[in-house]
Assembly symmetry: D2
Homo-oligomer: 344 residues x 4
């Protein structure tokens, strides 16, 4: 009963198979191998555009921070949600890579920034402000609360951002989970909605360590390749990241994995609600945030369930907010057992 | 006939097997998993000391540059060989991670700095110099010319360095190749010889992407864990690097691979010499630097041999310096065929 | 009627006289001249300790940011008031100089952080948090609202900070104004109250551009001299900053100037209150924050008064918060005329 | 007999007078005052172009390093002379401000890089090199050896640089000394010769601390104002730098000072040659580099002469290279006495 995080899983079978399959023969180093080029082309197909560059990394923090490095300006501000991973969980990577841009938290509801909230925050930072000048906005899709921005909200947000010439970044650590929830195309959820650059996550959804920076607006970012190299994020045996993504993207495996994880989360949500537990946020991707009483939590822990309590959630006396994350590796049996114990 | 680089190979079978083997079940993220702890302990055994910390990374550039970040001081100087990878081939990573330390090249002979040369260079930079203050020295073992520092030379170099309180770093991208050449213990080649921190390379010798920063002198480096995290070099599914190193270090596989690569290089050297080709450097590890005439080069290329010409080598008219690198994946057949063609 | 800022004035007569007086003959460059040493000794007298180093700079932003650079750690957090100059008005200097430390705003009342608020904020950032690790706290004395921390509040704040091993920094851009308000000694307001390093401001109180970083806790900061030099903040003709401070500190001129400025502010406060205008903050130094109706503001502007409206102040309909700053150069006549017009 | 450095002098009388003269009344802060605008316009007149921006700083190191910050790219290289101040005497400021660009020394003769040497060095760094990519070249005019680039050599150098799209920077710490030597116009020595940005030095030639970054090619530099602000190099009472430059540029004072300093240097050179002392470099500006025997050096020191021995100069046994620097403050009497003693 592993619901601690989707990064507690290993690699999915198709990803592992691809790694084994591509581990033959010699290949040129540093990203010039045929497999890297093949996967790059696959990204162009998936996103329905040739005006796209893609840069592999092995961690989401690298993908996010390198993107910010490539649009950094002195005294710049990056607006994010007040609970964004890029703000709260990356050890100051963006501040470091961008040589000191300031992160500005924008208030959220269920993990999502509204266009109004973004607008209000931007109004506090007119051009020339000594606090700093807005440079970029980073939106997490799916959000850290397991919710998903609908396409019209994304468009409204990037619309507000473009009025101030901001670079629009999407942190897609759980990109696939959001995509299958919306049922739209990758293009619709990104460049058609005004996104300039995407951190495309593979790790949480079945890769061992494979992410990609997908750039739709080449003018918005500068020297991204050089930023990646000098940060030690270009791999000599780079086909190793490409191999993972090859397996990941093949035959819709990535979408199947995300659908499975989302379905497991939905089932958790339904079951918990049915047995009287409240949910702090709507469940739209692969995360569930129930409020559980202490006795239930104790029973679950005793039975070996792994999950984190989530202090950000306001909970009444004798109860605690909890975060449950599902993944490609989550089984129906785990979910059923968890729900049984939670039902008391 | 792949002699372009040891990073053109994939992963060795034992490494690949370990990756598959450890890809089961769930594990805590960010380096707190049991496998990471197990491999850390394995490092303590191998280096015969418990006063050792080890931090996994996936690229050698990250290992080198993060080490430099952890000992960085404003206006600091890092002395290296004038052909050091850390100076010439890492896109300015050390300068970036160390917030602008200056790299100072020291003259080399066959890729090795002498204690005298280091001493002379240090004398140019007295304390308080406005050019900068020496902070660290980085020695590559085996060197970029395929030579190996003997233990007494290492001790002499670190002795000179310690007089100025320098941090002594070893870039061990080809650590195993040097080790089996000397036939000494890992401890003798590192902390017993005055090394404070080691970039322990696994990638070139059979891993897909596994390196480790091994710190012997805990006082010399500061906040290394935090430097690694905020640089995006801590993996969520961190067991994946540990798994590679587990397979790498098991049953002496790493030493066997290095012995094989070195033997292939020796055979190349002997064969080329026998057929009248000169060598620019002694062959002590897994690199061979012959000077070949244009006709020979053309014949080899035509037969499909992959290698780089090496402009750093001075070569007479009608000839060119060439670098040949062997690896665990090099076969006797490749070597024999190469020699046959080279013999004309 | 110049109440826009205390940095709209030039240099006071004693400061200007000292600049002229010391502009004779030759002197060694880069801070090794006798005048620099003399003024350094003067600081030791004034702060009643020989365990003090002092580093001149020419801007307050440099003084603040260099201090933060010298205590920076990767992933570090600097806690400040939510309206602190160092956070809101220095173009991201601290973020830049500290290589990306994150500024964390702490809520204030009348510009002051309480020990309770600091404690609450620190509790949100336990050791090892991926958001970041608290490294320093910066307190502005006098605060940006013209209020002054009493000695016991300072001690309480540094007490809370020391429990987490924070470096305690005082931004003393208006140090003299705070000092004469409290009527205590410079030692009492700094190291005796737990302050590790002080940005000692001279510019706003009569210098043209003279600040000093005064370090009481030598272990807390590292390589400050080197940070200053490589940032271009060490002057070749460094006696020029020393000369200003020589004039500034002579015969109690700095305290007289601050007393005058404070007195002018008090008179403004009393007069405005007497004519029915409310004040947003207590007046304890040289700043007054009245809430004025639009008609009054218009009358004052028409008469040539220079001041800024202050949107941070909540004001009822038809009114606006205003900031008035007095300095050594403010005259009784200016104040009287302003009050007369404001009285309607 | 002060020949140690031109920065051992104080401020010249016209500069000091201007400081006193402009120290009246109030002025808006942070570079928006009328005097700053007036001096900016004066620069446009002097350089005969309106397509020029100018940013005041107080140190030459700041001017140089901020310029490099504004053209910095990841993995970038800055080519300079091997004895350039920006490389050897600024504590790593350029490396820091540019977030780790690497300085590449180019060999010099009498302090000057030749177009051929620049070309040769550039050839070593083709696009995409992992050592780094050339971004800028910095030329010191007058050079650190007291020589001056003729206009045709400047044009040849910038011509070579432009082929690789380098930003051409001139470190003009001794700009006026070079200008009066060549007898050309400021425009001819800068933008007409291909210079994109100039560090215009005032300090060594009569100011207390006044430099200016003059940008001719607005596209080559980015966000210079923001770089300056966040580095703490924008002064609140900014008219104080403007005041110095106002006095400096008025009535040709700057050119008169430079002519005087150059004349004093010429006289030193002639006198020393006449009494049999060799010169290491031609004397074209305000520096003289004689080779003196130990007895002469001892006699001069005993008589109170201040100067530095210059180990960079190769000198025979019993002799030592020496640097003599003249300034606006050097008197004929000092020179005469020095020559008399040196003559033995």
């Amino acid at each position: 009963m592993i619901f601690a995080s989707d990064n507690w899983a290993g690699a999915s079978q198709p990803v592992m198979d691809a790694m084994v399959r591509h581990n033959t023969g010699a290949a040129p180093a540093y990203g010039t191998d045929p497999l890297t080029l093949k996967v790059r082309d696959r990204f162009r197909e998936i996103f329905e555009t040739d005006d796209l560059t893609v840069w592999f990394t092995a961690t989401g923090t690298a993908a996010n921070a390198l993107t910010m490095a490539a649009c950094a300006r002195p005294g710049g501000l990056v607006l994010t949600s007040d609970i964004a991973h890029v703000l709260c969980d990356e050890w100051g990577a963006t501040e470091f890579f961008s040589h000191g841009m300031k992160m500005v938290p924008v208030e959220t509801r269920n993990g999502r920034i509204s266009a109004q909230a973004l607008s209000r925050e931007l109004a506090k930072h007119p051009a020339g402000s000594r606090f700093g000048t807005p440079v970029a906005v980073s939106l997490t899709q799916a959000s850290e609360c397991g919710t998903v921005y609908p396409l019209d909200e994304l468009a409204a947000l990037t619309g507000v951002a473009k009025e101030r010439d901001l670079v629009c970044h999407m942190d897609g650590a759980r990109f696939a989970n959001a995509l299958v929830h919306l049922g739209c195309s990758p293009a619709e959820m990104t460049w058609k909605a005004g996104i300039d650059a995407l951190s495309f996550g593979g790790t949480k959804n079945g890769c061992w360590c494979a992410e990609a920076i997908v750039v739709f607006n080449q003018d918005a970012l500068r020297d991204l390749a050089a930023h990646r190299s000098r940060a030690g994020h270009l791999f000599s045996k780079s086909r190793f990241v490409a191999a993972q993504l090859d397996g990941y993207l093949e035959n819709g495996h990535w979408l199947d994995s995300a659908r499975h994880a989302n379905a497991m989360a939905s089932r958790l949500a339904e079951g918990l609600t049915a047995s009287g537990h409240a949910l702090a946020h709507p469940v739209e991707a692969n995360e569930v945030f129930p409020v559980l009483d202490f006795a239930t939590i104790a029973r679950l822990r005793e039975a070996g369930a792994a999950f984190y309590e989530w202090p950000e959630i306001e909970a009444g006396e004798g109860t605690s907010g909890v975060r449950l994350v599902t993944s490609f590796a989550t089984t129906s049996e785990e979910v059923a057992r968890f729900l049984e114990i939670a039902a008391g």
